[in-house]
Amino acid sequence: MTLDPFMLYALSAGLLAAWLAAPLGVFVVWQRQAYFGETLAHSALLGIGLGLILQIHLTLAILITSFIIVISLHQLRQSALLATDTLLGILAHGSLALGLVVISLQGNIQLDIMGYLFGDILSVHREDLYWMLGLGVLLFVFFYRNWHDLLNLTLNTELAQVEGVKVKALQLQMTLLLALVIAVAMKIVGILLITSLLILPAATARRLANTPEQMLGYTFFTASFSVATGLILSYYLDLPSGPAIVVSAMTLFLILLLKPKK
């Protein structure tokens, strides 16, 4: 099988995005934060809109927006008397809609909104790969150093705090890393599908794993497999790459449902 150079480019970008998402994805699943991840992803479009208006780097704009979303969520939880999932729904769709409005208002800018929503792997530049590699190093250091503490805060935040874990600082760092991964992986699967890149490989890996570390390992494996098959299918059948990746991840998940649960 021969692949075009641009396909190799897409494949390496896709695999990098999947590997970046893997360690965050297992914690998103363990901590039941899927909807939180979804909210951060949706708010990224608002980040892009604001970044274009203010003419700042889009990744920085996405980070700032994520930060605002996290603070708003914290404030609303204390004052709005609504359940967290309701608040997340409001913030997710409110920020997505606001993002679309803000982007539409800038009539003179030719912007591929569909590309942001569903991914456009062919728009990946060399610079994006550097971002991903840099972020990969950051994630590796973060998870390698804090793995034990992160597992403990996943079990129970109060117990972790009594045992000396810096719970708030770690949660904040993890949220910022999640926002960064969303910002760089957005081009691969798009804002609307990015949560699936976080949770589907991890959910699939659960069927195979006996320890948290094994689950992370299998998550890398299932994510890589989904990206590779998805991109190859999209190349030969001329399918949109983001949805193709998610469909292949979904298929793998369904196949492993047949396997008895561990």
């Binding site: 699943v29 363990w30 079990l155 045992e163 794993a209 561990k262």
Partner: protein, 253 residues
């Protein structure tokens, strides 16, 4: 364990594990705790009782320094090691975790020690569950595992938030028995939150009755003669009585 303190008599300052002065706490405009002074010493068992909403859990969080009080200060003994048993723990079934690993995570990274885990598991009668998924345990088994985890760091102080909540009577007395045994063996301090006194009573050195402030406190014996305690519990209190806890007298607007 704190190496710097030999076994001194119960009243020396080095035996003071936590002291708190003039604690006051508000959530927004809502004052939940006020005018609280608290001390706990090594080898002392204190039970904190009070109705729902009395601020028991809030006070414990403040004493553990998880929560910063609006006013007042909390002082921990130097290098104080606390073993904490939270009220309930919910571990998502997607986290593949055995009981053994759960206990291991209670140790510091460098201290992984299988014999230590096995010893504590044996003492708390959970050794047959070590390789089982932590989510598959029954209520009573989970409480024993949580107690094992609280003890695994050899704490100077054991803090237990409603340790027998939601488990059957037989497991309840077993848990109390285990707590008592471990306290005797380790001579550590114990701070326990409870809304039922009946089984804790006989081992408790001091009972603190909380309803936003300290309504009354003292030994079980002295409390029996205390007017407000008599108002709550009546005069003749059998050792293992099951009784309703009333706090109506404590409402101060």
């Amino acid at each position: 364990m704190n190496q710097t303190q030999p076994s001194a008599s119960a009243d020396t300052p080095s035996n003071l594990l936590i002291s708190a002065h003039q604690i006051q706490h508000r959530f927004g405009d809502n004052r939940v705790l006020h005018d609280i002074d608290f001390q706990i010493k090594r080898n002392q068992i204190i039970t904190l009782i009070g109705p729902n909403g009395a601020g028991k859990s809030t006070l414990v969080k403040i004493l553990l320094k998880i929560l910063k009080p609006t006013q007042g200060q909390v002082v921990h003994h130097q290098n104080l090691v606390i073993g904490f048993m939270p009220q309930k723990i919910q571990i998502d079934p997607t986290l593949p975790l055995t009981v053994k690993r759960f206990l291991q995570l209670g140790l510091k990274k460098a201290e992984h020690n299988t014999t230590q885990i096995e010893t504590i598991a044996q003492e708390l009668q959970v050794e047959s569950h070590l390789n089982q998924a932590v989510q598959s345990l029954s209520g009573g088994e989970m409480q024993r595992v949580l107690l094992a985890r609280a003890l695994i760091r050899n704490p100077d102080l054991l803090v237990l938030d409603e340790p027998v909540q939601g488990i059957d009577l037989q497991s309840q007395s077993q848990i109390y028995q285990l707590i008592h045994e471990q306290q005797q063996k380790r001579q550590c301090g114990v701070l326990m939150i409870s809304h039922d006194l009946h089984l804790v009573m006989k081992h408790t050195d001091e009972v603190i009755c909380l309803n936003q402030h300290v309504c009354c406190s003292g030994t079980v014996q002295s409390l029996r003669d205390h007017p407000s305690f008599i108002a709550q519990f009546g005069t003749d209190l059998p050792e293992h009585a099951l009784y309703q806890h009333h706090h109506d007298h404590c409402k101060h607007g």
